[in-house]
Symmetry: C2
Subunit: 438 residues, 2 copies
């Protein structure tokens, strides 16, 4: 049994949190590879170390001295080092090097990555196991994507030489020989890559929540936790705004069947959520999760005999592509078609899109409307449970909610419903209380 | 008050039917312009005159004599002329000309059009009003579509000169000076054009049914008639296979707000169905009509991060366009998309489409499946009646029907549901009995 354990920023924000992490790692011998984030916020209003580093980069790139900034950052680490009572250990050399590099040749990715780098050094010293610099084992290609072949070759070799190790999250080596980071939250991706390279049995992702919840706790009071969720279900829910796990973190482990276990550093006894390829575990509820998002726009297009015009749909989508806008859904009737898009992508380009639709597809009319909220009701059990749609729409009707859109059929594990923004919270509560009854 | 009255083939199949038509026209002075079809079937197994004419064309184009064929066709007309006791009237000259034209230069559109031409001559003699040859007032452009400008100019002039007239359906003059027809059932279109050109108050379309029914009587026993239906509702229903009215017949009158009244020649006292732009008439039921069709195919496409890939949908649709296939619906999830197409368009090209999708869009997987039936539940009242979707899906669940697809949102007047072929009739019955309760 081999586990990769990734700890988020709030799990490593202070010496106290570090000690919890140490206890977690020592409690299970199979937790052999550790992927730390940079220290996060210790309290509301605190600043993450990564943001402090980016501020130092900003200052350096304007040609100013960064002694002040680095001193504040070093204080964060020294507080941890002192609290952990690490003897004969300091980050003096590392900070000297960072100062030199940032002053002489300021680079934002380099700056941003140092939070994980330094935290990895502290973690390795605290655990007494080797430190592997991610710049030596994770590589990007010219397009800025992961260089799979080189990364897995080099990383697998290094892990084979080290039974235990700390590998800092978030960064690797760019094609040009400079440090390059994933997007924010990318330590999740590093953990997933390490899990795959080491052929781990489990990828434990430790955060400050006990896994995923069936619905957003800001809308539904005290929602039930999700015990098991499939990768596919998570994908259908995650785009709706769930932000516990970086979405790119799914793919490396998914392709080799390694489950992800989301755990809570502050409540390690909680089971958390298992993200799996598939499962026979009995489900408590037909619906696994409910997620949604406000502020979509709809573009309603009519044209006589649209239905029999070959190429019409393609031309309409081309108008969005030309404007670099991705669409969410495209419900269609006979002479009508609606395109649903994110308001924030669309709003500045609306007239350009409308005129492109007219130019390319020659419709009879184009009407745009805002204020649509989308809700995804997701559950692998929905395929076999009959009556889900009936219950769902009856629940919404009982609350007097007007259904603006329904989209089901791309997979049999979700139903997407469009409602007006003002009905969003009411709808989610109604769906929750209909399906999550116990 | 001015009405255009179009009579279908079964309304003019015999002298007996002609007399009913005469009574209808005489019963209302405002029925001033008459558009006849060719004589249809008098009984099950009978041959329509248009099909006899096309057979004669076939024979002539193979270089054979068509005396036999023309004799049989003339007998159909002579039976009507005799039955109507039309004195001093014969079609001898017309048949001599048809024989000459078909023998010397056989053209299928010309042949097909003669059924209406000859029936128009008989009708004009029977009613004692002028005959206007459609070849002199209805014109097609080079693409084979109606030449709107020329047609409405010429037709309006001619109608202004004739308070009453017979204008045969189905044909007009092609760009090249040869007779050209609409597609089969195109007399409905002629009637609509005449209604528009004369700015009629009503376009009466006389058939052998008392208007549209809420559902297919082959599935639902004795379904309720539809009293009022909007043009838009009809469009949403008509593509599903309702074939009472040629779909192109809607557009000429729709654009100038002339209602169509579908009436039954064999039961003229029945109110029939009114097809209108909009209406304040109280609806008996929330659902105006239920129509459906079996044998659609689905193409299920998955790709990691599909949702954020701009242009993915356009590329997929392009694969269908390259193969000259129109799509019906396109439900989409996050990493999945399904395209719904007619089996008869798709089946021969399936591998070509799949390989084009792979080439253009580079998906992770493409799966095709057949045996989907689509059902459109249409009603202008659905927008304001809450709970329609809930009732609908509860009704289907109670019958144990698995919902494969839902598409609602292109307009708020319909919901499209996909079910398995074998559940098609059960589903339509369940929906009918849920919404049409009295």
């Amino acid at each position: 049994m081999k586990k990769v354990v990734k700890f988020g920023g709030s799990s490593l924000a202070s010496a106290e949190q570090f000690k919890k992490v140490g206890n977690i790692i020592h409690a299970d011998e199979s937790r052999v590879y550790v992927v730390p984030s940079a220290p996060g916020k210790r309290f509301d209003g605190d600043t993450k170390v990564t943001d402090m580093l980016l501020h130092a980069y900003q200052t350096a790139s304007e040609g100013n001295d960064i002694d002040e900034e680095l001193k504040a950052i070093k204080a964060r680490y020294d507080e941890i080092i002192t609290g952990l009572e690490l003897k004969d250990f300091s980050l003096d050399d590392e900070f000297a090097e960072i100062k030199k590099n940032l002053s002489e040749n300021p680079q934002s990715d380099y700056a941003a990555s140092r939070g994980e780098y330094l935290n990895g050094k502290v973690m390795a010293a605290y655990l007494g196991i080797p430190f592997i610099d991610s710049a030596e084992v994770i590589f990007f290609n010219e397009e800025g994507n992961l260089n799979d072949y080189k990364t897995y070759k080099r990383l697998t070799e290094r892990l084979a030489q080290n039974e235990r190790a700390v590998i800092p999250g978030f960064y690797g080596m760019g094609k040009n020989g400079n440090i390059k980071t994933f997007s924010r939250g990318g330590s999740d991706v590093t953990g997933s890559i390490v899990a795959r390279a080491s052929r781990a049995d489990v990828y434990e992702n430790w955060t400050d929540v006990s896994g995923f919840l069936v619905a957003d706790p800001r809308i539904v009071p005290d929602p039930k936790p999700i015990k098991y969720i499939t990768y596919r279900e998570l994908r259908e829910l995650s785009y709706m705004g769930a932000s516990v796990l970086h979405e790119d973190a799914i793919f490396p482990v998914r392709s080799c069947g390694i489950p992800i276990n989301i755990k809570n550093t502050n409540a390690p006894e909680d089971a958390g959520t298992w993200i799996v390829e598939s499962t026979c575990q009995k489900q408590d509820y037909v619906v696994t999760g409910i997620a949604g998002k406000k502020d979509f726009c709809t573009i309603f297009i009519t044209k006589a005999m649209m239905n029999s015009e070959i190429g019409f749909g393609r031309k309409v989508l081309q108008a969005f592509e030309e404007n670099n806008i991705s669409f969410e859904h495209m419900p269609s009737g006979i002479d009508t078609m609606t395109i649903v898009v994110h308001a924030d992508e669309f709003i500045d380009k609306e007239q350009s899109v409308v005129s492109a639709i007219h130019r390319l597809a020659e419709p009879d009319s184009v009407e745009i409307e805002s204020g649509l909220a989308l809700i995804a009701v997701v559950g692998r059990g929905m395929k076999s449970a009959s009556g889900t749609a009936g219950k769902l729409f009856t629940a919404l009707a009982n609350k007097g909610i007007n259904i603006k859109m329904i989209d089901q059929g791309s997979s049999e594990l979700n139903i997407i419903i469009g409602v007006e923004n003002r009905d969003f919270e009411t709808a989610i509560k109604a769906i929750y209380s209909t399906f999550i009854t116990k």
